[in-house]
């Protein structure tokens, strides 16, 4: 299964959320591979706390591989190469967790040629043989990278794939997330151009809300009643707006609460962070755990 992680805009927490989902999925006993296709700023290494590839790798990054610069991309086994002690031993029952970092100093693709799509197809095909899940961080907005994976997935008809569109819970983000999917040259439009069936493609796209502040959240306890009422009204308005834009509950796979750890330092949230050091909220870990199950749960992906 291929999961493509995209966001309407930068700064949505797409990378930190998708890495955490991948991490949780591996803890659930699946072999997981994370592909950093965010070529302009390949920082997945930092989130996994692998300092040697914190800003991408100098040799054999994905960017270099797609341009034909190396025969196979560099792989990092997170369970052995992470700098965080808590991550460095594979928990019993967990699956493999492998990071394919981007190239250090790489830039966004400025075009997609057939050769690049062919290499992308080869990569996905080979990873699919050995991993239960390949999480592909496709970067923000309309990009040649998104175009490339749309083309590649058309050529792999028997490999299942799904898209996660990450967005924040604000007016602008809701409108932009909808635009990225249904707008001109959006995923559906471009996907159809490359040979995807738009109906089928739509069924394979779900939204994930990030940094969500629930009106009844513990953080809001100190607020005045007026503030709380205003927030509640805003939330209702946003829900209505989201519904109108097809970003509402039915198309939503899950939401991740606002968590200071994710805001201040993008990192994996381990059970230790929740239970021992208590720097992260249990709700956040639970949300990741839930999403990690839902991405492969067919009932969450039935036609809309």
């Amino acid at each position: 299964m291929l999961i493509f992680a995209i966001s309407d805009k930068g700064g949505t927490g797409r990378s930190v959320t998708s890495t955490n989902i991948g991490y949780r999925h591996a803890l659930q006993g699946n072999d997981v591979c994370y592909l950093d296709f965010d070529f302009g700023s390949p920082t997945a290494g930092a989130i996994f706390s692998v300092s040697s590839v914190a800003r991408g790798t100098r040799n054999g990054g994905l960017h270099e591989y797609l341009r034909g610069g190396c025969a196979e991309p560099h792989r990092v086994d997170v369970w052995t190469e992470s700098d965080r002690e808590g991550l460095r031993t594979k928990p019993p029952g967990a699956g493999r967790l492998v990071l394919l970092p981007g190239s250090e100093g790489g830039g966004e693709l400025s075009a997609v040629d057939d050769e690049m799509v062919r290499r992308c197809v080869q990569l996905f095909g080979r990873l699919e043989e050995e991993f239960d899940l390949c999480m592909v961080d496709v970067s923000a907005g309309r990009s040649f990278t998104a175009e490339m994976v749309l083309q590649a997935s058309v050529r792999l008809p028997s490999i299942p794939f799904r898209w996660l569109v990450f967005h924040r819970w604000t007016r602008q983000h809701i409108i932009a997330a909808d635009g990225l999917v249904t707008g001109a040259d959006g995923l559906l439009d471009a996907g159809a151009r490359f040979g995807h069936d738009p109906e089928e493609l739509r069924d394979r796209i779900r939204f994930v809300r990030t940094a969500v502040l629930e009106p009844d959240a513990a953080e809001l306890v100190g607020l005045r009643d007026e503030q709380r009422a205003w927030l509640s009204a805003c939330d209702a308005e946003l829900r209505e707006l989201a519904g109108r834009h097809g970003v509402g509950r039915t198309a939503m796979l899950g939401k991740v609460p606002l968590d200071p750890v994710l805001q201040w330092r993008e990192q994996l949230i381990s059970d230790e962070d929740v239970l021992a050091s208590k720097i992260a909220n249990a709700e956040t870990a639970a949300a990741f755990d839930e999403l990690a199950k839902k991405i492969v749960d067919d009932s969450a992906w039935e036609g809309l």
Partner: protein, 310 residues
């Protein structure tokens, strides 16, 4: 001088094993060329041999700059309709003249790469087995692509019963007193070094493909047994996780099935030390015992429930 090769082995990307006619189509990589199929003692299908042109440095342990020009022979194989392999090899020989000739010269000697200038066979062998640096001959990439050809065939449903990495086996043969050395490197990389008193024949490549196949079987069965968590996971769960091994792997162990009589002693010596077949039989027994144990448990539960109902 020497022959070097690399074999990549993988689980065929299909839910079940494929039958001979499908094998023929999957491996029909060249128009007008037959797929060679043998049915006994185990189904084994071999694609036609294809050539790839190369002109590059050869890996060398001493970092010497050795250039070679010629063609690499590659093919795909499917064993038991279940395991796919991409295999490439090249005979390295000294060129008569130290400059690159017209391409037709190299095509008149298929499967040979001619070394321009001086080189030592032992240095090249060691360099190759260590893993080639990026600008050197990359037999692994060629074998990987041939394996892709089989794996990406539209005739396969891509719903393989379990996920497992490919293994790669690099091998070198030289002329000398008979000997064989098999080395496990990382999780996926193995090397084999063979000395054989007679000049090279493709049968030696077939021997290495057979070794790669059986090493993959053993590696894969070990992974499946580990995943089953025998002893820590509940019996029924462990048995369920072992089911694919019973369904898809256990009947495939047939060392030396397609290896010529004269090369059989190489397999036999590996079977004495480290004893591949011994390890396989032990694992096989373990898997069968688990499954049997679980069946017994289920039977006794059924019997108990039956008694209670009476």
């Amino acid at each position: 001088m020497l022959v070097m090769g690399e074999v990549h082995t993988a689980l065929l990307q299909n839910s079940g094993e494929i039958q001979e006619p499908v094998c023929r189509q999957v491996l029909g990589l060249m128009a007008g060329e037959t797929v060679r199929v043998s049915r006994r003692p185990i189904a084994h299908a071999l694609s036609p041999d294809l050539l790839t042109g190369v002109d590059c440095r050869l890996p060398s342990a001493s970092q010497a700059r050795v250039r070679a020009v010629g063609t690499v022979v590659s093919r795909c194989a499917i064993t038991g309709g279940r395991v796919a392999q991409g295999s490439s090899y090249v005979r390295v020989e000294r060129a008569a003249v130290d400059r690159r000739l017209s391409w037709s010269h190299y095509l008149s000697r298929p499967g040979v790469a001619e070394v321009l200038g001086k080189a030592k066979a032992g240095d090249l062998a060691a360099g190759f087995l260590d893993g080639a640096p990026p600008d050197c001959l990359d037999l692994g990439a060629i074998s990987g692509r041939f394996l892709d050809l089989a794996q990406s065939s539209p005739l396969l449903d891509r719903r393989a019963p379990f996920r497992i990495p490919r293994t790669r086996l690099r091998w070198v043969t030289e002329v000398g007193e008979p000997s064989i050395r098999f080395t496990l490197h990382s999780d996926q990389v193995r090397t084999v070094r063979i000395a054989h008193p007679e000049p090279f024949t493709p049968a030696l490549a077939a021997l290495c493909e057979d070794l790669a196949l059986h090493d993959w079987l053993l590696t894969t069965l070990l992974v499946l047994v580990e995943r089953a968590g025998i002893g820590s996971a509940p019996g029924a769960q462990a048995a369920a996780k072992l089911a694919p091994a019973v369904d898809h792997l256990l009947h495939l162990w047939m060392p030396g099935a397609h290896v010529g009589e004269s090369l059989a002693p190489y397999w036999e010596s590996l079977d004495r030390r480290p004893g591949f077949t011994r390890q396989w039989r032990t694992l096989e027994d373990r898997v069968r015992d688990q499954v049997a144990l679980n069946t017994l448990t289920l039977l006794s539960i059924t019997a108990q429930t039956g008694r209670r109902c009476q």
